[in-house]
Structures are given as structure tokens and as C-alpha cells.
């Protein structure tokens, strides 16, 4: 841990000003990831700007039938909010698939969006890592990579995004509302997280002096079918090897909308809307799910140890779609996969 200054801000503008003035400053919300990273010397902020006093906890319905969730709403607040439980059960389920009750009680929506990879090289300052220290190399590429990316990786970085919540947000369709010195803007979730390319140190398109105010979920269609299926190395309290968030609307056995996102496979929640089109207008059958899953993984690429994730991802997508179609979403308390 490095010494830092601590500043508790009373206004959004004060936070933005400090971020603009001090490139080494970082925002603190729940702290479940940032404080860990500081203890391991991976994050070395010069100032911690505590934003927990800011009025960003509200969860409210928008006029068009969507839902706005404040940046500081905790994961638990969101998962157990009646509107989320009723209209966005996929989001509730994904949140409950992650971490532990204790962590979810303090971890926030914005913090979840910004959490960093759990790649063990990234976490170990005694090893090279392009994401942590650009230009030092990526030992995972030829090292321990059984849980690294199979999609969208680069020569410089094969890390994955660890969030469960973001996978559901990707499937639902979400805008991230941010504010900077020049005012507010919205970024779609698809454009918020980025692929590593040759700048893996940048996880997102958020600017250094911008703050997340909240997220907006697109209006949820009635009677949608869903499932969040997370496959991991043990049955609880582990990051995903592969996870799939599936949302389906089915009329008379025919799929009218299909949204599918994958977690644990890439530097960002992975969604391919072009592939989803294939499902629309076709029966909700295993054959169609199989075909779609194969398309989704067409551009996947294995490292030395993670080839199994390609077939596992394919099967996970199929099962999640089956669970959604049959209205038997995966339970996050009973670990039995139906």
C-alpha cells in the first residue's frame, strides 16, 4: 500500500474538479475492488475521493418504462429492488451469482462496472503485466491461462472482465450516464468496456475526469424469458470460467427477440447482435440454439490452456437459452443446473 490523501466530497462537481486537477486521484465507492488493489500495490492512487456522500443511490423508473439506477446503489439494493425482481429478473439473478452477500452489500453499480480483471499476473506486482505496467509483457499468454480470454484478446493482453452484473446489463441493453467537466453524456454499455488492443491499461472509454452518475436500463418487454448461467471452478464464490445471460421473447413457439451475452470469455461482456438475428423468427429449439452458439463463438481463439472454454461456452449458451425458453431460469441458491 502506498500513502494517499483522503478526500470526502460533497458534490459531483467537486469530485470532477479534483479528478481533473490530479491525474492520480481515484474515486472510492464500495471499495471492494480498489482497496484490494491498493493493498497489493496494483493501484497506487495519490488521492482517494470518497463519493459515498453523493446523492447517487436512487433507483427510479424512467418515463419510457426503463429503470435508472444510481451509481452508488449497492449490488444488493439492485438485486432485491421490486422493479428489478419483477421486470429485470435477469439482472437480479446475475448479481446474485457473483461474490458473496457481504461483498454485494457494499459493492456498487459503478464499482461493478469499473472492476478490474482478476488475472493473477495483473494482481502480482512482481510479475510483468501490460495492463498494470504497459510495455512489460504478458506472461499469461504463455503461462497460466486456463481462465483467460477466448474472444477479442490481443497480443498484449488476454485478460477477461470479471463481472456478472455487466453480462446481464449487456444482454438487457444499458446506457451509462457519466459527467465530466463539459457536462453529462451517455455511453452504451457495448461501447463502455473496450477490447485490450495495444492499450490494455484502459478498461473502459470513461475519461479520467469523468464520474459515473448511474445507468439506464432499456424498457423490458413483458413476459420475457431469461436465465443467467454461470459455470465456475467451484459452485460458489468464484469468478466465471464462462457465463451466459439469455433473454428471449417467444410467441407461439417462435422467437421474437433474443439477447445473449457471455461473461468470462473476453476483455468485456461479449455480445454479438448480428448473430442474434439468426434466432429471430425461428422456433425455440435446441438445434437453433446450437447453431446460434456456434456462430457466437466463430471467432474464438484458444491459448495453451483455455481451449476447453470454447466448447464450454457453446454448451453454456445452449443451456441458458433452453432454461430461458422453458421458463426455468437457473437458481443462484440451488447450485443444481436444470
Amino acid at each position: 500500500m502506498r500513502r494517499f490523501e483522503y478526500l470526502r466530497v460533497a458534490s459531483i462537481n467537486q469530485a470532477i474538479e479534483r479528478l481533473s486537477d490530479e491525474p492520480g486521484a481515484k474515486l472510492l465507492a464500495g471499495g471492494t475492488n480498489l482497496v484490494d488493489l491498493m493493498k497489493y500495490d496494483v493501484a497506487t492512487p495519490t488521492t482517494i475521493i470518497d463519493i459515498n456522500d453523493l446523492p447517487l443511490r436512487e433507483i427510479s423508473e424512467t418515463s419510457d418504462g426503463g429503470l435508472r439506477i444510481g451509481a452508488l446503489a449497492t449490488n444488493s439494493d439492485v438485486a432485491f429492488h421490486p422493479v428489478v425482481e419483477n421486470r429485470y429478473p435477469l439482472l437480479a439473478s446475475a448479481i446474485l451469482a457473483g461474490a458473496s452477500a457481504q461483498l454485494r452489500n457494499v459493492a456498487t453499480v459503478a464499482g461493478n462496472l469499473l472492476q478490474r480483471t482478476r488475472c493473477s499476473y495483473f494482481y502480482d506486482v512482481m510479475t510483468p503485466c501490460n495492463k498494470r505496467t504497459p510495455g512489460t509483457g504478458c506472461p499469461a499468454r504463455n503461462g497460466l491461462n486456463r481462465n483467460h480470454a477466448i474472444l477479442g484478446a490481443s497480443q498484449d493482453c488476454v485478460a477477461t472482465h470479471p463481472s456478472d452484473m455487466c453480462v446481464a446489463l449487456a444482454a438487457i441493453g444499458t446506457m451509462i450516464i457519466v459527467q465530466g467537466p463539459n457536462g453529462a453524456r451517455s455511453i452504451s454499455l457495448a461501447d463502455f468496456h473496450r477490447l485490450p488492443g495495444d492499450t490494455p491499461e484502459q478498461d473502459t472509454t470513461l475519461q479520467n475526469n469523468e464520474i459515473i452518475l448511474g445507468i439506464e436500463l432499456t424498457p423490458a418487454p413483458e413476459f420475457q424469458r431469461y436465465s443467467y448461467l454461470k459455470i465456475r471452478d467451484r459452485l460458489s464464490y468464484a469468478f466465471a470460467l464462462v457465463s451466459a445471460a439469455a433473454l428471449l421473447t417467444i410467441d407461439d413457439g417462435v422467437i421474437s427477440t433474443a439477447h445473449v451475452a457471455l461473461g468470462g470469455v473476453a476483455h468485456k461482456p461479449w455480445r454479438d447482435t448480428a448473430a442474434e438475428v439468426v434466432l429471430v423468427g425461428r422456433p425455440a429449439s435446441r438445434g437453433n440454439f446450437d447453431q446460434f452458439a456456434s456462430m457466437l463463438l466463430l471467432r474464438s481463439d484458444a491459448l495453451s490452456e483455455n481451449g476447453f472454454k470454447i466448447e464450454l461456452a457453446r454448451r453454456t449458451v445452449v443451456r441458458a437459452l433452453e432454461q430461458a425458453a422453458s421458463r426455468t431460469p437457473q437458481s443462484q441458491s440451488d447450485k443444481h443446473i436444470h
Binding site: 497489493y40 510479475t127 459452485l235 443444481h336
Partner: protein, 733 residues
């Protein structure tokens, strides 16, 4: 044998439970000592080479930092490595932190930062810059197989790997049915919940060391010799130990560095090893094993060959009884065993719960399952067909062996009779169901080193029992209280047990499952002695009562006695020297473990939905704490089977597990039903109190039972631990 009025044998709740739940049980890092300094380790990033320079200027100028100790400025200590030997250490040169510029393993301490506060020490440790000259390292056991060797020197106290009997090569080649396969097990870390920690209270005359250890006495002797503390009184206190699993058998890096710094600075020091650095303290050796079984068509064993290659460090030949049970568990006249080591650039491996047995028996018991399928014999029937009443490796009977009862009771409880033999023949919904079983065995021995205990009548009529043995969470406080209460015909409220202090009567290390038998026998002997003394003093004092000992030991009678006699003398000390077992019997605990797994057929997600563990361990002093031992060991067995892997990046020569996010142990969700049965086993030979010990036996058979259940469910024989989803997927595709 005096069985007393039987408080022993009852499920008495832990005596130390209330202290622990109230936070009043003090652990090594919790003692308040005046003017305490705090230390933090700077560890090596390379696996092999030399430290060229250490730039500690920034760390030294950091506010609150008192000193930065390195191999260059440390106080003098002995250059002779034999002076750093400890009773649990293997042959070789013990690792000495900050000895010289050599780096032996990644994560090795290369500097120690000492500060006024924990935060100052930790934060400044991040500012120390170390440059290295790297040398070619090797951390990959598979790459070192060709350099495997039989250790020329045997570890003190370790029984030798049994000599060959018959002609196993020939018997195998001529056997009608042959099974031969290679198995691997991963390196595992112990990770007790309590971090390794030492608080040193440095005084001119006395050095008190609060240490997390399984042996306060050997730490005391080690410190006196290694740091030449002969002119000071050294006292090592470990009143409570939050688990250790073998990692605390030897004086750890924490106590070495803390005392080194205390001596250098003549100050009191605390050092806590954080979780990430705990990975560099020791590990269960990973192994590569080949088992060849020859049998007749009915599965009767004709030949057993078992070769194991286990990891060790460059500086020591770490050894454990990996193959010591392969010759004696089943009846077979042609046995050949080879236990070899391969040197790696790692810290020395060390004992971890059921050391050796948990590794060797995994391979043997999976091979037995393979034989069951090669001969089309039910796995339990196969084991009964090869049952032996004698230890054929030593050609002598067992002091007792209720393994047959374990098989019968475990099978009954589990419902084994309803199993269909064919792989993939049982399923429920989308899941394949598998039932597997395995046999467990562990040595039941008393410590080869004598144990002492003292018991004293207190002025208030209670009895105080003292012993240097630690309670590492197993329930030692409780069982010793029960033993004393029975011997002294007193209620447990009238017995006060004090443990874990090198100033108390000498006891050997707490390990090998021998504590209950050894320290328990010493306590019983001391109590019997005191009882005799009290009865004779009562007689002298004319206290007669109704003539019954119970009445003479009652609080009222003792109050009379205390009034009439000098109570200072009312104490007794007893020493137990290894029970005269001679060479007539083999002592062993046994278990039969039955496992049910359910595996999603497509996704290969494994759930261990049921475990039944039937254990024969002689007399059970406390079914509640004994059951906890077996359940805890079974959870470790699930971890060994499915999750635990201290994975090393061989390019960097570095273990890349740094936390419980990287190093998976079972979570609550991974543990379903675990049932524990104790088979009745009376044994008047194994120890004076008929006890065999239950610390290790629970860890032996769980992993092979699960691996065999996975085969039964899927038809896939995974011979590499842990059985992760990728291994199942690869074997399937």
C-alpha cells in the same frame, strides 16, 4: 485399563468454545506488548539466483520505519546449518531467511522492514528495490522425472518404505489381469484460517515468544540454539492455534525473522505473514505415481508395484510416508515400492494432513477401482477379497483392525447395495450419478518422544492440568479435560487445562495424530498418581467419609484435606514413554469412504452430493470433536479431489496463487451431506488409553472415493488431481 465413570466417550462441547466465540482466546498476533515494533517481509520475485543489490533508501526514510534488515546487515548467526535442525525437519540444510545472497525460491524473504506500526512496515516494504542475477530455474516436476532419485538419508522418525517381497515384476507380467496407470497430484497449500504470526517480547532476562506453532518446545530449543539465547530464559507460548495442518510443525519463517529482528534491535517485534506470502511457507509435495496391479480373474491381488516421484527443494529431502501403506493395506505376496524425489527450485515441501498417505493412497485406491472394472468385480467386494488381518510388510498382526466393520457399516448407511456397477448407468435428470468408494489408512502410533503432564490440586478444590502440547483446533483442551475429569472422578467444571506453553511440562510436536494417545495418556497417568496421593493423604489426615474414592475426591472432602494438609505438595507429574508396543503389533487407523457425485452430462459441473465416512480409530474420546475432525478432513478431501492447486508459472518459477480467489478450497455450496460413523474398536495395545487419534485418517480416502465416483458417473478415468472441469472436458472430447 481404567475407563472411569465415562465423561470420556461423551460429546462434551468444546471447553474453549466460549472463549473463542467471545474473542477472548488469544492468538499469536493478538498479544499486547509494550513498545512493540512491526515487521513486514520483502520477498523474492525470482526462483533462483543471487541478490545483487538491495536499495532500501526510500524505505528507510519512510516515516515510522526503524530498520531494514537484509542478508548484508543482519546480526551474526551460525554458519553451520545443522544448528538449525528441528525434530520435524527432513535431511538436508534447513532454509535460513536472510542467511546470504542466494535465492532458493520465488517468494523467499530477502529483506525485513521494521516500523513503529504495521502500516509503516508494510508500506515501506513496497519501496524496497531488489535487483537480482537470475539463474536457470526448474519448478516443473514433470520435467525433472529423469533426475528423480532415492533419498540416501531417511527423515528422523519416518518408517522406511517397505522392502520388496516376492517377485512383483514377474508376478505382474504373469498375472491374468493387469492394471497399470500413472496418476498425478497437485501441490497443495495448508492455509489454516489463522495467519502465521509471531509476537516477540524482548527482555534482558526473558524472551517471550507468542508464536503460531504446533510445537512450542521445539521452537524454544530451536531459538535458543540458532540465536544463541542461552543466557536468556526463552518461553514460547501458543495457547491457541487457529489450525495448522502440518505447516506449523517446524519453526516457521515468521518466528525466525521476528526473533532475528528482535535480537538485532533489542526490541519487541511482531511479524504477521499475510495470506499471499503464506504460499511460500511450505506445501504438500506434488507427485507423479505409477501403480501396477496384477490379479487373478476374481480380483485377488498377485502383484502390487507402486512408484512415486515427489517434489522436494534443492536444500532438503522432504519425505513422508507416501508408500508406507501400499504394501500392507491388501493381502499380496509380491510387492515392490519405489519412493523417489525430484529437486525443484521451491521452498521445501512439508507435512500436510495425512502427509504421504493422502497422496499415495489416492493412486493406489484409484488403481484398485480400475482393477474392479478390469475384473468386473464390485469395488467393495474387491477390497474384501483382498482383506488382510496381518500387516504383511512387517509380518505381524494389527493391534486392532475394524476395517471390515467400516466397510459394512459405511456401505449399509450409504446404500451401496443399490449401486449398479456399470459406468454411466445411474442418472437423475440432466446429471450423471456416480458412486465410488475408497479405503483409508493411517498409522496409529504414540509419539516416539516422551510426553509429560502435571496435575495440581488448587486451593479452591479444582484441578489444574498442564502440558506444553498445543490445541491446533482439534479439541485437545476438551479431551484432556475429559480424561482428567474421569481419572479424578470430578466434573469437567472442576478441571482447568493449560496448554501451549514451553514453560509447561514437555510434550512433543502436535502431529501425526498421536496427541490424543500420547499427551492424553500422560494426563491420565498424572491424574492417577495425584488421585493416589490424595487418597493416601486423606487417610493420613483421618478423612474417611464412606471410604469411596468419589467421596474423598469431592469438593467437601478436598476442602477438609486442604485445611489439614499442605496443599502445595498436592500435585503429580507423569511421563509417558512410548507405550511398550514392541515390534509385536502394527497400529493403524482405517476408514471406508463412500462418495456420491452428480455431474451435469454436458457441462461437466461436478457436485459431491453425499459422503459417508466410516472410521475405525480405537476409542473415541469425544464423538463431537472427533466427528468435526473427520468432517473437516473430508472437506479438505473434496478440495484435494476437485479444486486445490498451487499452480506455478514455470516460466517465472513462481506460484501464481496469491489468495483464496486463485487458490480454491471448497465453499459452503460445495459441501453437501457428510455422514461420519465410528466403528467400535477396542484396543488395549495401541496406547494406555486405547486411543488411536483421528486427525489424519479423515483426509486419506475422500479424494480417491470422489475420483472413483466420477469414473462411475461418466466412464472417464481422470488420473490427475484436481479433477477440474477442463480435465473432464478434455478427457471427454
Amino acid at each position: 485399563m481404567d475407563r472411569g465413570p465415562a465423561i470420556t466417550g461423551k460429546s462434551i462441547p468444546r471447553i474453549d468454545g466460549p472463549l473463542k466465540v467471545r474473542g477472548q482466546a488469544k492468538y499469536a498476533a493478538e498479544y499486547e506488548v509494550p513498545d512493540l515494533l512491526h515487521a513486514a517481509i520483502v520477498s523474492a520475485s525470482i526462483a533462483k539466483g543471487r541478490v545483487i543489490s538491495i536499495d532500501s533508501a526510500d524505505a528507510k526514510s519512510f516515516p515510522g520505519v526503524v530498520a531494514v534488515l537484509t542478508h548484508q546487515n543482519r546480526p551474526w548467526f551460525w554458519p553451520f546449518s545443522f544448528l538449525y535442525k528441528d525434530p520435524a525437519g527432513p535431511p538436508g540444510q534447513p532454509f535460513r531467511p536472510l542467511y546470504n545472497d542466494r535465492v532458493h525460491f520465488s517468494g523467499q524473504p530477502v529483506a525485513l522492514v521494521v516500523g513503529d506500526t504495521y502500516e509503516a512496515a508494510r508500506d515501506a516494504a513496497a519501496l524496497v528495490r531488489v535487483s537480482y542475477h537470475r539463474e536457470q530455474h526448474s519448478t516443473d516436476l514433470a520435467a525433472e522425472v529423469s533426475r528423480a532419485y532415492k533419498s540416501p538419508r531417511r527423515r528422523l522418525g519416518l518408517a522406511p518404505t517397505p522392502q520388496p517381497t516376492g517377485d512383483a515384476d514377474r508376478a505382474f507380467s504373469e498375472a491374468p489381469v493387469k492394471v497399470e496407470a500413472t496418476y498425478t497430484t497437485a501441490a497443495e497449500n495448508h492455509h489454516p484460517m489463522e495467519l502465521f504470526a509471531t509476537t516477540v517480547e524482548w527482555g534482558d532476562k526473558t524472551v517471550t515468544v507468542y508464536d503460531k506453532t504446533q510445537s512450542p518446545k521445539s521452537v524454544e530449543i530451536f531459538l535458543k540454539v540458532a540465536f544463541r539465547l542461552f543466557r536468556r530464559k526463552v518461553r514460547v507460548v501458543s495457547s491457541f492455534v487457529g489450525g495448522a495442518f502440518g505447516l506449523g510443525l517446524r519453526p516457521q519463517q515468521s518466528v525466525f525473522l521476528a526473533v532475528l529482528a528482535a535480537k538485532a534491535l533489542k526490541r519487541s517485534i511482531r511479524l504477521v505473514i499475510p495470506r499471499d506470502q503464506m504460499f511460500a511457507l511450505g506445501y504438500r509435495a506434488n507427485s507423479i505415481q505409477t501403480v501396477s496391479l496384477g490379479a487373478d480373474k476374481n480380483g485377488h491381488l498377485l502383484a502390487v508395484r507402486h512408484r512415486a516421484i515427489a517434489a522436494t527443494s534443492r536444500n532438503e529431502d522432504a519425505q513422508d510416508p507416501m508408500l508406507n501403506f501400499s504394501a500392507s493395506l491388501y493381502r499380496c505376496h509380491n510387492v515392490k515400492l519405489a519412493y523417489e524425489l525430484a529437486k525443484l527450485d521451491t521452498v521445501s515441501p512439508c507435512d500436510m494432513r495425512a502427509p504421504g498417505a493422502a497422496t499415495g493412497m489416492f493412486a493406489l485406491e484409484c488403481a484398485m477401482d480400475e482393477l474392479a472394472y478390469a475384473t468386473n468385480v464390485d469395488p467393495l467386494v474387491l477390497r474384501l477379497a483382498n482383506y488382510t488381518e496381518r500387516d504383511q510388510s512387517e509380518n505381524r498382526p494389527f493391534s486392532s483392525k475394524a476395517l471390515r466393520e467400516c466397510y459394512a457399516q459405511g456401505a449399509e448407511r450409504f446404500g451401496w447395495a443399490k449401486r449398479s456397477h456399470a459406468p454411466r448407468s445411474m442418472r437423475k435428470g440432466k446429471e450423471l450419478v456416480g458412486w465410488g468408494m475408497a479405503t483409508g489408512v493411517w498409522e496409529a502410533a504414540m509419539s516416539p518422544v516422551p510426553a509429560r503432564a502435571k496435575v495440581r490440586l488448587l486451593a479452591d478444590g479444582r484441578f489444574e492440568v498442564t502440558s506444553s502440547i498445543t490445541d491446533i483446533g482439534t479439541g485437545t483442551y476438551t479431551i484432556l479435560t475429559q480424561i482428567a475429569a474421569d481419572a479424578l472422578e470430578a466434573s469437567i467444571e472442576r478441571v482447568v487445562v493449560k496448554l501451549g506453553d514451553s514453560a509447561l511440562p514437555f510434550n512433543p510436536i502436535q502431529g501425526g495424530s498421536w496427541t490424543a494417545a500420547t499427551s492424553g495418556s500422560a494426563v491420565q497417568a498424572a491424574c492417577n498418581k495425584l488421585k493416589k496421593k490424595i487418597l493416601s493423604r486423606a487417610k493420613q489426615a483421618g478423612i474417611v467419609g464412606n471410604g469411596q474414592s468419589t467421596e474423598l475426591l469431592s469438593p467437601a472432602a478436598l476442602a477438609d484435606l486442604l485445611r489439614l494438609s499442605d496443599h502445595d505438595n498436592l500435585s503429580a507429574t507423569a511421563t509417558i514413554i512410548n507405550f511398550p508396543f514392541g515390534k509385536k503389533y502394527t497400529g493403524a487407523t482405517h476408514s471406508a469412504v463412500f462418495a456420491e457425485v452428480r455431474i451435469d452430462e454436458e457441462l461437466a459441473v461436478v457436485r459431491v452430493t453425499r459422503l459417508v465416512c466410516a472410521v475405525a480409530a480405537g476409542r473415541i474420546l469425544n464423538p463431537a470433536t472427533a466427528r468435526s475432525q473427520i468432517i473437516g478432513a473430508s472437506v479438505m478431501g473434496i478440495g484435494k479431489a476437485l479444486y486445490e492447486d498451487a499452480a506455478t508459472d514455470h516460466n517465472l518459477g513462481r506460484c501464481m496463487a496469491h489468495s483464496f480467489a486463485d487458490y480454491h478450497i471448497p465453499s459452503n455450496a460445495d459441501v453437501y451431506e457428510i455422514e461420519v460413523l465410528f466403528a467400535e474398536e477396542t484396543d488395549d495395545k495401541v496406547s494406555p488409553i486405547g486411543v488411536k487419534g483421528v486427525g489424519e485418517i479423515g483426509s486419506v480416502a475422500v479424494a480417491p472415493a470422489i475420483a472413483n465416483a466420477i469414473f462411475h458417473a461418466t466412464g472417464q478415468r481422470i488420473r490427475d488431481l484436481p479433477i477440474t472441469i477442463d480435465r473432464l472436458a478434455r478427457s471427454r472430447d
